[in-house]
Structure formats: C-alpha cells, structure tokens
Symmetry: C2
Subunit: 217 residues, 2 copies
C-alpha cells in the first residue's frame, strides 16, 4: 500500500471525527471502516494508533477505540495549555527573532489588517494561523514548535467558532499589534503575556465557546 493511501485513511478519519461523523463516545468499527476504505483491518488499526497518539480517540484494551469529544473542562484546559505554549514561544522568540522574520511577521500582519478591513473572517483565519506559526518558528526550539503546532491543529475545529464573535476580529488585530511591538523591542516577558492573553479563552470568548459546544449536541 503506498504511503499516500495510508495517510489518506488517517486524514479522512481525522476529518470524520472532527466534523462529527461519529457520536461522542462511539466505538470506531474496524470492520466497517476497513470495508469503507476498501482495505483490511491492519491499516485501519495502524491509523487508530496514530489517532490515539493525537488524542482524538481513546483506546480501551480489548474493547476498541472510542472517539473522545473533549468536554468544556478539557477544552478550557487545552486552550489554557495553548496559551501557555504560545507564551513560551513568544518568550523565546522575543530574544531570537531575526529582522527578516520580523519583517515577514509585519507583512502577514498587514494581510490580517486587510482581511479585517474587508471583514473577511476566513482570510483573517488563514493569515492569523500563519502569523502564529511564524512566531513558533522564531522561537527556534523545534520541540516547542511541534507541541504548539500539534495542539493548534487539535483545537482548530473549536477555534473556528471563536471567529464569529462580534468585534473579535478588531480586538484580535489590536492584540497582534501589541505582540508585534513586544517582539520588536525584544521584551520577552511582555511578548509572553500578550500572546497568553491573545489565545486565552476568557470572558465573552469563554461564554461563546460553551454556547457553541452545547449547540453541537
């Protein structure tokens, strides 16, 4: 089986899980899925293990793997961890970011600004992601970056909810400016704090998240 096929199965399963093709707590049926993808159980089980590693499913020995939709508590804790990872990347990036990286960051930020002006949430989403990835890279600590990227990916479906909060784009934009300023000045403590606050889910954002979470069920 060529690699693309195997990856395709994994990607498809991830997609199916995050888009809600399975109920919360549902068992993933090896046989059904192997029939669905036209392969044997072996590659399905392999994909399962990767899903376990990414935290999308939970494995109970001799029972199978079950999708785990994080509850409100888990979600808040994950966003909290994300905020801390971003803060850490910012902390390091403030000391290490190169002038060319800084320029790239400003460029992306301008694209964000433009998206806000056009009220284009999807465009903003894309550029925002790139903005944050640049900061992960600028931290020059690949282990930390990998953690941040992984969790960011995991939170993607929930982050999308946040975007449609009224006035969120404008506020997010001004937070970007503050982050950029701290990074430019090399103020690691402030960069960390700004990023933490930017990502953290509090106040209205928190309420909004819970509302949409309930709507999903």
């Amino acid at each position: 089986m060529d690699v693309r096929r195997a990856d395709h199965i994994l990607d498809d399963l991830e997609q199916m899980i995050v888009t809600g093709s399975f109920a919360d707590g549902e068992r993933l049926d090896e046989i059904r899925l192997s029939e669905h993808f036209g392969v044997s159980r072996t590659p399905i089980r392999e994909a399962f293990q990767k899903l376990v590693a990414s935290g999308l499913v939970e494995q109970r020995p001799r029972r199978g793997v079950f999708v785990v939709e994080p509850g409100p508590v888990e979600l808040v804790q994950m966003f909290e961890a994300m905020a801390e990872l971003e803060a850490s990347c910012g902390h390091l990036a403030a000391k290490r970011i190169s002038s060319s990286e800084l320029r790239a960051l400003e460029e992306i930020n301008n694209l964000c600004k433009q998206a806000v002006a056009e009220n284009d949430a999807d465009q903003y989403y894309t550029h925002n992601e790139r903005f944050h990835h640049l900061i992960y890279d600028a931290a020059q600590s690949s282990y930390l970056r990998d953690l941040a990227v992984k969790l960011q990916k995991r939170l993607k479906p929930y982050r999308r909810m946040q975007l449609h909060l009224r006035g969120r784009l404008e506020q997010s934009m001004s937070e970007h400016e503050a982050i950029l300023s701290a990074l430019t000045k090399g103020d690691s403590a402030r960069a960390a704090n700004e990023l933490r606050g930017h990502v953290a889910v509090q106040g209205e954002k928190f309420h909004h998240l819970l509302t949409h979470l309930n709507a999903k069920r």
Copy 2:
C-alpha cells in the same frame, strides 16, 4: 496476548533504547525483535508506532524505524521546552495551588533537604521528581501536565547526568526554596521564572551535559 505482555514489550524496547542497546541511527529489526520477545511481528510493529509517538524512534516509510539519539542541539531545545513547560505549570500553579498541596510540597521539599544533608543524590533525584510532579498537578491543567510528564520522562536519562555536578544539589535546593516561596505568595510571574531557571540548562550545566554526551559515544 494480554495487555501486560504488550506493555512489557514497549517498556523493554524503551529501556533498551535509552540505555543504549542500539547504536544511534540503527534500524530496529522487526524479525529479530519478534524472535527476541517470542511474538510475531504484529505486536512489535504496534510497539514501534508507540515509540514513534514518543519520539524515541523515527519511521521512514518502506525503510523501517530508526533510533534517534538527539544531538546536542536537539537536547538543548528539549531542555528549553521542558523549562518553558515547568514555567507554565508554575505560572498556573501559583494561582491555583491549594493549602494542602502547598503543605505536601513543603513536606517533599524537606525530604529533599534531608537528602542533600546526607549527600544522597539518588534520594534527592526521587524526591525532586515528586516535587515537580506536584507542581504539574497543582497547575490543574491536565493537558499541560501530560506534556510535562511526557517530556520529563523523555529527558530522564539525560537529567541523571546533571545530578553529579559538584555543588548542584545545594544550588538546586535553594532554587526549590525560591520556587516554594513564590508559589506560597501566589506570585505567578516569579514562580514561572524561578522554575524556568531551575530547569534550564545553562552555564556549567550546559558544559557538563555536552561533556557527558560526548563520553557516551
């Protein structure tokens, strides 16, 4: 195959890798290992996937899995990430730690002190680990805690090196006091900074790490 057997294989493989039973970059032979453990290739391949997830080995499609001993750069980055994770846990713990947890922390710290007085590095190592785990728990953010625990485990073999640095125990102890003080006062910024500094590999510690790393090859 009962679960204990499967876990046993994984634990054994981990142990073999960290204790250097394999050369850096060596391919793990599925057939040899399946004979060694008296099982078929299937559970071996399953264990491989978990090793990949934990970062102990690298998988190259159609080639096999290869042990990856992190080089100096990777190691420093991993310690850096560890320092940031500890700082994050400390940051949250300072706000959330309960008085009973604080008491437990003080207790453990006294055991550390005792170990230092007796110059018992192994005892200190054990209590120190417990000290840090208590802080992870006090952060009340299970995702963050899991990250910290996982990386701590990964760095274990390298951390052991650090202990035998002359005067390290005493210095480490005074750092613990500072951490404890910050946590008691609820000063999250200081708790974070103290923990970051406590875990970070800099100056003599850095030199020591590199020396022992070279000695290993």
